[in-house]
Symmetry: C2
């Protein structure tokens, strides 16, 4: 009475067909699915390319993020897992199930199934390698980029080591949280015996746009966030600040990037009791419009020198946007694609919520430069604390269906 | 340089205007917004009516749920909070901010702001009262429905008391998780000094449809869930099994319902290692199609007597759908609208994930009847455990903008 595994696979294939996407079985060319995608919100983002998807990609609505530690010390086991993950990621991001089903129903299904029937929802899966992966266990010590090291202690840190670090990071972003969770769950399952999840974080709402075609979302402070963010389509800024180029000491990394992840807890109850005028002074922007306090429209540039009739700076010396601005940081920019989170209540009975900050950059020094100043002087520090921290190097994209995540590193 | 509070309110009013919804300031008639809603996925569900919204309402994509305990023993404080909550809920569900802003920016904003610019996304906010609310603190002991009592110990219970019970429950459902979270956060804020959050749960994916217009979603077992669920538009079944009628000992409750909430943790790693044929035997349905093992299509009725060529029951004696079926439970049905959840990892390093089960019914006896059998005999018990439990009585709907949640209870 049971359907055959082939039938199951066929049924899961309907996930794509149901939304007008036809994908040949075993085909890993995401582009085919893209062409037929019914809409930009539920369609496919190509998996293969010079860069990994999920960095320049227009920010999706939901995040599932996890850090893994290797439980093996075998380099070939690690490579096998990366190959397996890559094949699975190429399939899932194209709206297919994890492949590998047999014709028998006397085996576990290759895919866990909860995303069957759902369109790809612009799923991207992005991998990063932590400093610990280069510690010698896998013969990678001389492949470690000089720029990759655990972040130094930074002002304002209140880090939980159990939610920090990790050998490998996986960022899954999609316009449906079930699609993002499905991706994470299946990679976790495929890692069994090779790596285990160290910590994870769900994000329920994007806090920064990475495309000029998107409006600017609001964070849990109620403010528009990321107005001056780098846009993925701005190739020259991406090349200057996000993609690793020839300046790197590691040729395998060209086309990659560095990811800094920080769980920033907000004291939202305290923030909610602050006066509107104070909130706006802390940020340096108007709450409704998102305009800088010196401007009228969101995208007006901030005038950091402007003073009011009392000769006080309009955008205060400790205002968040001043301290984070490229103008006061030697031109430094980073690409942010963080997410709002809530994890229930904390030990004090307050909402445990905030911003899971994800930033991509050519060199983690960019984040360190910004956070050294923000952590020490930002007026916002009264309301936030950084409770986890991790840094990862993200390899370049997988060029085609013969490649795998990190192939240039292991070549 | 700061915008006035009136300007802020006006700006937030744009949340509606941006999606073609025009709502007069202070207007609490949700219907006006509904008429102009751009699509069924992002539009408005009317707040006022004979029944509370969020029960018969077509299941939305995301859930924010919380239980609160009163920190006051004053009946009038409680009523004041319910009035304040009702006004806020009517506004938020119509896509407006929490009202009450003054013209000054020297006060905290009345709304936390993170949903400004987002459409209503079919937000519903539903309230329930726990047995403890009727314990005498508020003069309600003789208003307690006979059917309302803490659930008895049930087979398979593994309950965490810190995530169980509560004086009041709030269920916020929406097609955007940020909209659901915003509702919960603002009610929590308005409760300050009167009630405090006891526990909360986010749900990222619906697991049951409550309308024939919806397809059946999949739970984290990868199976379609809720194929035989009650449909909100099926008035006669709703009246028979969900809405409290004249059979109740409490007239104030007519038009209300009872909510049972259970956090069901799934051992998904173990489940994922089970053979497909075994998974299908445990559930009693085919995984791909959702058809019963005795049928070919999802909505085929299960043949509970059918035997195979070895004279074994095709849908086993301990199959989940047999034990949960109305045919084997004296016709009992409940309306389910549960959500998949994940809360990171558990103490064993496994994914802490499962189904946050929410069921509405005329009398909690309906759930107790089903769970007594399921908890004792269900083949699925190898893979699940109930880790939290709560029961609430949900008052009828708020009839108009002069009313408030629970007004018939306090009248």
């Amino acid at each position: 009475m049971s359907v055959s595994r082939r039938g199951f696979l066929g049924g899961l294939g309907l996930a794509g067909a149901g939304v007008g996407v036809t994908v040949a079985a075993g085909c890993s060319k995401a582009e085919k699915a893209t062409a037929a995608a019914p809409s930009s919100n539920t369609g496919t983002v190509p998996f293969h390319g010079a860069h990994q998807a999920g960095i320049a990609t227009e920010t999706q609505d939901s995040l599932a993020f996890a850090a893994f530690d290797l439980t093996t010390t075998s380099r070939s086991d690690l490579i096998d897992m990366l190959r397996t993950w890559t094949t699975a990621a190429a399939a899932i991001t194209a709206g297919q199930p994890v492949l590998g089903d047999s014709a028998s129903d006397q085996v576990p299904p290759a895919d866990t199934g909860e995303a069957a029937g759902l369109p790809p929802n612009r799923l991207t899966i992005t991998i990063g390698f932590g400093p610990s992966l280069f510690d010698g266990r896998f013969g990678l010590a001389d492949r470690r980029p000089a720029a990759l090291a655990d972040l130094p202690a930074l002002p304002g840190d209140d880090l939980n080591p159990d939610r920090s670090g990790g050998d490998i990071a996986i960022q899954a972003c999609a316009n449906d949280p079930q699609v993002a969770f499905h991706a994470m769950r299946n990679l976790n399952r495929l890692a069994l015996g090779t790596a285990s999840m160290r910590w994870s974080q769900l994000g329920f709402g994007k806090t920064a746009s990475t495309s000029a075609s998107q409006t600017t979302p609001r964070n849990l402070l109620g403010f528009k966030d990321g107005t001056r963010n780098i846009r993925g389509e701005d190739k020259s800024t991406m090349d200057s600040f996000v993609w690793v180029g020839k300046e790197s000491d590691q040729e395998w990394l060209h086309g990659g990037s560095f990811l800094v992840a920080r769980r920033i807890k907000m004291q939202i109850e305290a923030w909610d009791h602050d006066f509107l005028a104070d909130q706006e002074s802390v940020i340096g922007r108007h709450k409704v419009t998102g305009a800088p306090l010196t401007g009228a429209r969101e995208f007006d540039g901030p005038d950091l020198k402007a003073k009011d009739s009392s000769r006080e700076l309009v955008i205060g010396a400790d205002a968040h946007i001043r301290l984070a601005s490229r103008e006061t940081n030697g031109g430094v920019q980073i690409l942010r694609r963080g997410y709002s989170f809530t994890d229930g209540m904390d030990a004090q009975g307050q909402l445990d919520a905030g911003l899971f900050f994800l930033a991509y950059q050519k060199n983690p020094r960019q984040f360190i430069t910004l956070q050294r100043r923000l952590g020490a002087h930002d007026a916002l520090n009264e309301y936030i604390s950084h409770t986890s921290s991790a840094v990862f190097v993200c390899p370049p994209g997988v060029r085609d269906s013969n490649g795998y995540w990190g192939e240039t590193l292991f070549a």
